[in-house]
């Protein structure tokens, strides 16, 4: 049976078809749907772990206990999980372990564009790269086979375009789950002290030699000899782009991007005249192929940045630089915005008006860096806000007193904010940290986390009490505020900034899109056109339903326009009512 599936749905399906029933992940675009889909299958264990490092460690533990396991994350998640990944490469997996890295060429929803194929080489772990949903399903199954056969973790690399494209997939009967779990002891293999790790280090090199041999016969490293004038070496989605515009050229499509099949590459090279290596981002294949002494054309004609499309490959190879005839029209941009009634809006409205530096973090609230709020001044990676706020305040000393704030979402705080907050208490910081607690992981689509009190499988569980946790870390000044109350929010921030020592404010109010929210959205607000002076103060909230339109100036009136609220969008949060000095909103 054929069905239409996204790459992510297909990966989940493949894992299930492989008889695997154990997976852990932390959400992150474009990887999130893999675990959400997997968790819907009968009889699986799937969890949101607090971060990617924990997810990988959970999967390693399951594999050590004999259960085949999957860990899933976006590309930057692999940075967080890199520590266990580099050493589980030494220990091997006992059962089977597959790590999915979903990369994001073009940074559709990420803070950087790193090419995680480099991790495969760096950690000496084989990596498969599918080109569409059908392959995504097949390759994840092959990844489990390779993991088991070679006692190695295996990477499956997806990209946004593979994860979020849909195409036809043939479903197969899932293999039944086999319970092979048991406790086994093998310290030489699993206690990575120097003496044992040195021995395992040698095994890793032997394994790589075996994997290279395997790559030569791996069924998904495929040669297609058509027109012998041009040969294209490629992998993943760029294969589809190239085939789209050059269906008649010859291809070597690599299903395994590390390690490379050197003999197969030489065989291909001998059959074609001119060779192009077509790959997005880094010259990962190109450098390795050039190191074999083979002449290929690569990054001298293809871009390093952004994802490709068929036209980019066509133009690069045909050397055409013809400008597009129908240029894009210059029309107003449509940046993403905080939702109407978003609890982050009130907090960042206040922060933007105070003369403070706000070290930001990643989540929906990052959007408040934009006009008109401009309430966030840095964003590096998840958890960075707290360490950075502390570092800034230490470096600035008196100059920074009362001027440094770190803001972090609840999911992000749990992901990687706890340790740096402990550090602030320990190293006597002076900065203020605000936890934007909207009771969910909003940015990636409302995932559960330890402070929501529910698991991925929908079970009720022990709910983390953020206030108790913050207190246990050694923070004495803690208060909880409602960001819908601008006055309370402003006063709390000012008071805490005036204090010596670190403070934490928990800004608490569920996301407006939150499914379990007990708070019903309030009735839509209205602006009284007779009372509105057209002063534009309410526009400073950047709230989508509020607009402002010119009106004809009346005799003796300074009023040039009035504000209006689109009732179909307004959630009635009341912020505009609080900022209006003329009582014209009700």
């Amino acid at each position: 049976m054929k069905v239409l599936m996204s790459g992510n749905e297909a990966i989940a399906r493949g894992v299930y078809e492989a008889g695997v029933r154990f997976a852990a992940a932390y959400p992150g675009t474009p990887s999130t749907e893999i675990l959400e889909e997997f968790s819907k299958y009968e009889g699986v264990y799937a969890e949101w772990s607090p971060n990617e490092k924990v997810a990988v460690e959970v999967a390693i533990g399951a594999a050590l206990a004999g259960e085949k396991a999957l860990a899933v994350m976006k590309h930057v998640g692999v940075n967080v999980a890199a520590d266990p990944i580099f050493t589980v490469s030494y220990t091997g997996t006992n059962s089977a372990l597959v790590i999915v890295s979903a990369d994001d060429p073009s940074l559709h929803s990420s803070q950087n564009e790193q090419d995680n194929r480099n991790y495969a080489k760096f950690a000496k772990i084989p990596m498969l790269e599918p080109a569409d949903a059908q392959e995504a399903k097949e390759f994840v199954k092959l990844a489990f086979e390779i993991s088991e056969k070679f006692d190695t973790p295996v990477f499956l690399r997806s990209t946004t375009r593979v994860s979020h494209s849909k195409s036809l997939v043939s479903l197969e009967e899932p293999l039944p789950h086999q319970d092979k779990t048991r406790i086994s002891y093998n310290p030489e293999k699993f206690v990575m002290v120097p003496a044992y790790a040195r021995l395992r280090r040698v095994e890793v090199e032997k394994r790589l030699v075996n994997l290279k041999e395997y790559a030569e016969i791996f069924s998904e490293n495929k040669m297609e000899i058509n027109n012998p004038d041009v040969g294209i070496i490629t992998a993943g989605m760029p294969y589809n782009y190239a085939k789209d515009v050059f269906p008649d050229y010859s291809y070597l499509k690599l299903g395994m991007v590390y390690p490379l099949p050197e003999k197969l590459i030489r065989e291909f090279v001998a059959k074609v005249k001119k060779i192009y290596v077509v790959e997005e981002l880094d010259p990962f294949l190109e450098e390795q192929i050039k190191a074999m002494g083979i002449k290929v054309i690569g990054k001298e004609i293809f871009p390093y940045t952004n994802e490709f499309d068929p036209g980019i490959i066509e133009n690069a190879i045909n050397k055409s630089t013809k400008p597009s005839t129908a240029s894009v029209q210059n029309i107003p941009s449509r940046p993403p915005n905080l939702c109407p009634g978003c609890p982050h809006r009130g907090l960042f409205y206040v922060l933007g008006k105070l003369k403070v530096f706000v070290a930001g973090d990643i989540g929906c609230y990052t959007l408040s860096f934009m006009k008109p709020l401009e309430g966030l001044h840095s964003c590096i990676c998840m958890g960075a806000s707290i360490g950075m706020a502390h570092g800034m305040s230490k470096a600035l000393k008196e100059k920074g007193k009362g001027k440094i704030v770190g803001v972090i979402g609840d999911s992000t705080f749990i992901h990687s904010g706890i340790t740096p907050l402990l550090n602030m208490a320990y190293n006597k910081s002076n900065a203020l940290i605000i936890i934007c607690d909207n009771s969910t992981t909003a940015m990636t689509g409302m995932q559960e986390h330890p402070a929501t009190g529910y698991t991925l499988l929908g079970e009720k569980t022990k709910q983390l009490d953020l206030k108790v946790l913050v207190s246990a870390l050694g923070i004495d000044n803690i208060r909880v505020i409602d960001p819908y109350d601008l006055k309370e929010t402003r006063n709390a921030i000012k008071e805490e900034l005036a204090k010596d020592g670190p403070s934490v404010i928990i800004s608490q109010r569920p996301c407006v899109l939150f499914k379990r929210s007990k708070l019903k959205t309030e009735r839509a607000l209205k602006i009284d056109p007779d009372k509105c002076t057209g002063c534009k103060v309410c526009l400073g909230l950047g709230c989508p339903p509020i607009s402002w339109q010119k009106i004809e100036k009346k005799e003796g009136s300074k009023r040039e326009g009035i504000a209006m609220i689109d009732e179909t969008l307004c959630n009635g949060c009341g912020l505009c009512m609080q900022v209006c000095k003329f009582g014209s909103i009700s």
């Binding site: 054929k2 239409l4 675009t29 474009p30 559709h108 929803s109 569409d132 946004t160 375009r161 979020h164 494209s165 849909k166 195409s167 036809l168 294969y239 589809n240 782009y241 085939k243 789209d244 515009v245 269906p247 499309d309 068929p310 036209g311 980019i312 066509e314 597009s324 005839t325 129908a326 240029s327 894009v328 029209q329 029309i331 107003p332 941009s333 449509r334 940046p335 993403p336 915005n337 905080l338 939702c339 929906c364 959007l367 990636t444 534009k536 526009l539 950047g542 989508p544 509020i546 607009s547 402002w548 339109q549 010119k550 326009g561």
Partner: protein, 192 residues
């Protein structure tokens, strides 16, 4: 080998039901026996930003993304969004343009005007431009939310899929109580 691949672009604003519409379109194409691929971008784009989906079909499709100047049909769910993707349209592209205007922030707060004379510009440049008030037509069918299905009805006239297939897929795509209304919306769009 004759492998003509057709490319459709669905464009608009988050919340307009674009991804749902492109899913229904792909299911219908699959049912009609085509190979089909579609691509879309989730994530940040959903918070009120632009949303697009490429749908490509033929006897064998490789790329889920169309190249510039190659789109055969664009359905624009929001009027001005059409203008953002003109560089994707082929010279002979057909355009279906919803008259709904959703103001972007800069227009909302009076900093920039909403672009004028869009239809005129499009008609000067392209032979087949169909204007359609999908929101109003959806209301006639019983629910403004069905504007996306009205637009599917409109594009169905330009695609090689028979009505029975569309009907079957629409029935499959909605809960029982919304089926009648969506079938009506499709029909209204088809005859608009």
């Amino acid at each position: 080998m004759d492998n003509e691949v057709k490319s459709i672009l669905l464009a608009g604003v988050g919340g307009q039901g674009i991804l749902r519409a492109s899913d229904i379109m792909c299911e219908a194409l699959m049912e009609a026996g085509f190979d089909v691929k579609k691509s879309e971008v989730h994530g940040m784009a959903q918070r009120g930003g632009c949303v697009t989906s490429h749908v490509r079909y033929g006897s064998k499709v490789y790329s889920p993304l169309a190249k510039l100047e190659s789109i055969d049909i664009i359905i624009s769910f929001e009027k001005m969004e059409t203008m953002r993707y003109l560089n994707y349209l082929s010279k002979d592209a057909s355009l279906i343009v919803n008259s709904e205007k959703i103001y972007p922030p800069a227009v909302n707060i009076g900093d920039l005007p909403y672009p004028k004379d869009i239809t005129k510009l499009l008609q000067e440049r392209y032979k087949t431009v169909q204007k359609i008030d999908a929101t109003e037509l959806a209301q006639k069918a019983g629910n403004v939310k069905a504007a996306n299905v009205v637009l599917l009805g409109a594009i169905s006239n330009l695609m090689e899929i028979n009505s029975a297939i569309w009907e079957k897929i629409i029935k499959k795509s909605f809960p029982e109580k919304l089926i009648k209304m969506n079938l009506a919306a499709f029909q209204i769009g088809k005859t608009a």
